[in-house]
Amino acid sequence: MRFYSTLSISQKQIVWAWAFLALPVIFYVVIRFYPTANAFVLSFQEWNLLSDRTFVGLENYHRLFSDPVFWKVFQNTFMYLILGTPISLVLSFIIAYHLDKVRFMHGTIRALYFLPFMTSAVAMAWVWRWFYQPVPIGVFNNFLASLGFGQIQFLNSTTNALPSVLACAVWAGLGFQVIIFMAGLRAIPQSYYEAARIDGVSTWTVLTEITIPLLRPTIVFLVVFSSIGFLRIFDQVFNMTTNNPGGPLNSTKPLVLLIYDTAFNGFNMGYAAAQTVVLFTILLVVSLLQLRLLKDR
């Protein structure tokens, strides 16, 4: 304590800063940085948890890129992205845009859209899975039957399964995006709209010339946020296809599920690590690309 009192004010600050940071710095090194490095190293090794870890160079990557299942999974992952992101963005924008202009029961309607965001993906995957069942169990098919339409194979068809799983994921995230869009809309100064009204500009022109350009930061955030979400999809797929995860015939399997399978069912730790490195690269490239495309101009 005597030593401490001899320190100058700025030296005391340094002491306090590291006292505050000591435990967290250890945490980040041990729980984030070391595992990241470990994943990279492991991706050049072969290991099934029992044998020794042996270096195999790029073999895991070679094997991955020549595996037809990987390319199927790669394609699926991008399907989730290129369908999910635009659909959820356009829907949530339309909802937010109109909800912004509604006063009567505003809070209640907002809550209705937001509620799904508060649910657990696993629980809702099971609810949607039930909806998709054939007659007499499934709600959707019962509804179609009562209207006199034929039955639809939702989860058992290689073409319908992926969009069916995706619908549940889009539904769950919509409320969050609506709320963020609404906050963005409210941040646009009212005076711009008043000026436009005085000039007699059409609603459409106001939308495309004022609202959307001024929403750019919000749009950038939501595009990056939601594409990362769709590229990492797992909970919904796993729980809607538990009898055959990622099925039928790998038609719904995303990259994260492939990683899970390789590591924790196949115990090919090195091969799985190589897959995680590929996921990391995709996420990095996609978000940097989007930031680039959307931010400047």
């Binding site: 505050f20 967290p24 980040y28 595992p35 990241t36 202009k101 696993v122 909806f131 990492r232 990391f280």
Partner: protein, 293 residues
């Protein structure tokens, strides 16, 4: 930054006070309202169906009316008396509460240190922590699993919790919010003889309470619904969290949809109820956390 903060504050404020927008009242406005309301009702239908089915006897499940003819709590007593859901609920609660308390405490501590202290290495620490946001959890689960295995953390509470005791996102969020605390306040406290820890805890923390609440909501919800890591790190049914338990339970009973819906309701109703009570507050938190991130 300051300008952006003001804009965010203005947007969150107008989102909750009745705004100055005055819609024209006409037929178009009515159609808009009806479509929006209808869309909102469709959005909550899965939740309504879940609750309604959890209150039905098995013979009524295939009847799609939303209000059960003979509502019953039998499914709930069946599922809870089985004991597993009760256990999973307690596991989830303990894990979510402890990680939330820990993450909020440490994120605020680090955010404050990075914002208010001048010391060599400050920028480096900030960039290092921020850079971990780019690493997807999926990349870390394999090393985490190996680590847990060698330390004997598999199938323990600590094993489920350790990756989440601090979050980079929260640190960033808190650092942003501590910028709004004037240095004069801290200086005054220093003159009054408080030490730096007391200044942080007694002076700065109360001033960023809304941000702490927003962060707490995010961390709690994230841990309550987390699936992939608890799935990997647990292997006995006693250690499952609610989502992992529900996932295994669904496979087991497969055709007993009223029981699956009861399980789903048990894992969802607590957060829904909390939302309905603290609605405004939670939406405000989401806006703050979302726009800051």
């Amino acid at each position: 930054m300051a300008n952006q903060d003001l804009a965010i504050k203005a947007s969150t404020d107008t989102l909750f006070s009745g705004s100055s927008r005055q819609p024209r009242r006409n037929a178009g406005q009515l159609v808009r309202w009806l479509l929006l309301f209808g869309g909102g009702v469709l959005m909550v239908m899965p939740i309504v169906f879940m609750i309604s089915t959890s209150l039905k006897f098995p013979f009524e499940v295939y009847n799609l009316n939303l209000i059960p003819e003979e509502p019953t709590l039998e499914n709930y007593t069946y599922v809870l008396e089985d004991g597993r859901f009760y256990r999973w609920f307690v596991n989830s609660l303990v894990i979510s509460v402890v990680t939330t308390a820990s993450a909020v405490f440490f994120d605020a501590l680090v955010g404050y240190a990075l914002c208010k202290f001048r010391f060599p290495g400050r920028y480096l620490v900030f960039i290092a922590i921020l850079s971990t946001l780019m690493i997807p959890t999926e990349m870390l689960v394999i090393p985490w699993y190996l680590m847990s295995k060698s330390f004997g953390w598999l199938d323990t509470y600590w094993g489920i919790m350790f990756p989440g005791v601090m979050t980079a996102f929260g640190t960033f969020l808190m650092k942003q919010f501590f910028e709004t605390v004037p240095d004069d306040f801290l200086e005054a406290a220093r003159i009054d003889g408080l030490n730096e820890f007391q200044i942080w805890w007694q002076v700065a923390m109360p001033l960023v309470r809304p941000a702490l609440a927003a962060l707490a909501i995010f961390v709690f919800l994230g841990n309550w619904t987390a699936f992939i890591w608890p799935l990997i790190v647990t292997n006995s049914a006693d250690m499952y969290t609610l989502p992992v338990g529900l996932s295994s339970f669904g496979d087991e009973v497969d055709v007993a949809w009223e029981l699956i819906m009861t399980g789903a309701a048990i894992s969802t109703l607590p957060t829904l109820l909390v939302f309905l009570i603290f609605q405004r507050f939670i939406i405000r938190g989401v806006v703050m956390a979302g726009l800051k991130g």
